[in-house]
Chain length 176, copies 2
């Protein structure tokens, strides 16, 4: 919330057990506003376009989760480093340990919030199109067109040292 108006801000997230973690700059206005307030964290994955014989029944297959709660701040530097390490391990296993070690001032410049998974709901559409029976012989194509997200070919920057290979990464998702 900002001046009585809800603001939806994209941010990365990760889950460990019964908590969802959010992080960012220590001066992030979003994290400052979220600390101690009731916030909503929503994650959505689009899976397919759903095509029917009528415009009305067109849809999308998707999975979404809505989480409500009051984030608490994680302030202990060792705990912060452990949680950030877990975030990176989830995306790129093994990478944290080969990086230039994190500095105390970097942990200080990073705010970490965690939200207990207490009140949440999920909404999912899956499966085939749902036409009206009377429309099934209408001559328009019906079915699913999958929506796929994947990681492309890594692009080294100009400083990449010879002999280094990019990590095997997993797909991230942004929450709002």
């Amino acid at each position: 919330m900002h001046g009585g108006v809800p603001l939806v801000i994209p941010t990365l997230y990760w889950r460990e057990g019964d908590h969802v973690y959010l992080h960012g700059s220590a001066v992030s206005r979003m994290l400052e506003a979220a600390r101690g307030a009731t916030v909503c964290v929503t994650v959505t994955q689009l899976d397919a376009l759903v095509l029917t014989r009528s415009a009305f029944h067109h849809s999308v297959n998707y999975r979404s989760a809505v989480l409500l709660g009051r984030p608490e701040e994680v302030t202990d530097p060792e705990e912060k480093a452990a949680r950030l390490r877990a975030f990176m391990e989830g995306l790129m296993p093994g990478r944290w340990d080969i990086l230039r070690p994190v500095k105390p001032k970097e942990l200080k410049a990073t705010r970490l919030l965690r939200l207990p998974i207490d009140e949440a709901s999920a909404k999912i559409r899956s499966g085939p199109p749902a036409d009206d029976t009377a429309d099934l012989d209408w001559p328009a194509w019906g079915g699913l067109i999958p929506i796929e997200t994947r990681l492309g070919r890594p692009q080294p920057d100009e400083h990449a040292l010879p002999g280094l290979t990019p990590p095997k990464a997993r797909k991230p998702r942004a929450a709002r």
Copy 2:
């Protein structure tokens, strides 16, 4: 907003000129709550993982837009049909005209809101990693790993008539 708490609900959207359109069931609680209230519509596209030599400077490339405003309802049936047609034309050009024609009761069962693009902000990160200069010879791979979204091979449903081909579709994006 729902009982004083902000709720972030995924929904499809489209833009025509200076308006963003949202639609859904006439009994959608989200659309009922959004009508006449100040709402926030956010769209985000993740473009790449950004890998640096330190954990601290890891990031993502992304584009996001945040739109604030008070949605107004479009109630005229012809206007509703024209806007829904434009939505489908944007995703699958030519498809609306080959579908079983929309029925008046279907238009009545669909609520259409439009939000003027008056107050909006965009946030973008693009380009290469931004390491500390002192870290550039640290032996960890640095660069971009692109995140790509694409449409997969269409999957006809069991009612698909022989000889029909699926439409050429464009990628949808969900707003929140």
